[in-house]
């Protein structure tokens, strides 16, 4: 994984509007207009947020006549997911052991 790429991904997700747009796109494609609907923001501001997501590689678009529907990019999301998975794995084994320890503490009535 490219570190700079992950930095861009995390920076792109640092904004609540952009996180909300990503959540929306998890449900399927949407145009920039549709992505902007939940927010009281100007069209240039909406376009800017979408562009930041595109530049980070999180969002891509296809051409459908006059429409340019946006969708999540599997590659962009993968770099973030790989890192989150690594953190999850590092803790999961320890917490599984902690389950066992807590169970024995409880039985010992400490």
């Amino acid at each position: 994984m490219n570190e700079t790429e992950l930095d861009h991904v995390l920076a792109a997700l640092a904004h609540p509007v952009r996180r909300s747009m990503v959540s929306r796109l998890m449900k399927g494609e949407a145009t920039v207009t549709e992505l902007g609907e939940p927010f009281e923001l100007s069209q240039p501001a909406i376009s800017h947020h979408v562009r930041v997501l595109e530049e980070a590689g999180l969002v891509t678009h296809r051409v459908d006549g006059t429409r340019r529907p946006r969708r999540l990019s599997r590659e962009g999301m993968a770099s973030l997911e790989a890192w989150i998975d690594a953190v999850r794995n590092a803790y999961e084994a320890s917490y599984d052991r902690l389950d066992g320890l807590l169970d024995s503490m409880r039985r010992e009535g400490e």
């Binding site: 997700l13 999850r88 169970d103």
Partner: protein
């Protein structure tokens, strides 16, 4: 085990990463497992094949922590930390770094222990390290993740017999 859960991990803006995990024991037990060295050494053992060989914890504001891990072939590494604030059974705020042996950047961590039913909701909110430290964690975690999967397979195999 009822009441326990799989861990959930989420980024919280650019600055934070939050882990959430439920345990089937009251907060006082989960808290003790985080501040008593002899308990820590029984679960925070690191990747499979590693053991925590040393653990010293002075869990109070200004107190420090030292933990060392060792592997028969791969050597060892240790962690140092300072406690910023400690509210017994509720909240621990500390700053830690690993020495591999070069120190990783400081990680500011807030751990909370909340009652949830007859169990505990554990939340660990950490500061996102920089790209270099993330890569180190990724390399470390990827290896561990693989071994964890093997351990899980073994458990599943045992349960199936």
């Amino acid at each position: 085990m009822s009441g326990a859960s799989k861990i959930t991990v989420a980024t919280d803006g650019e600055q934070h990463l939050t882990l959430v995990r439920r345990f089937a024991a009251p907060p006082a037990f989960v808290y003790r497992a985080h501040v008593e060295p002899e308990l820590m050494q029984r679960w925070m053992t690191g990747p499979e094949g590693w053991t925590m060989t040393e653990c010293r914890i002075d869990a109070r504001a200004g107190g420090s922590m030292y933990c060392a891990w060792a592997h028969p072939e791969e050597g060892g590494f240790h962690l140092t930390a300072e406690f910023v604030a400690v509210e017994p059974n509720q909240r621990i705020e500390h700053v830690e770094r690993m020495h591999l042996p070069d120190p990783t950047p400081d990680n500011h961590i807030v751990t909370t222990f909340e009652t949830e039913g007859d169990g505990t909701l554990l939340t660990v909110r950490m500061t996102l390290p920089d790209a270099e430290a993330r890569q180190a964690m990724l390399d470390f975690g990827a290896v561990e993740g693989m071994e964890v999967s093997y351990a899980r397979l073994e458990r599943i195999a045992e349960a199936g017999t």
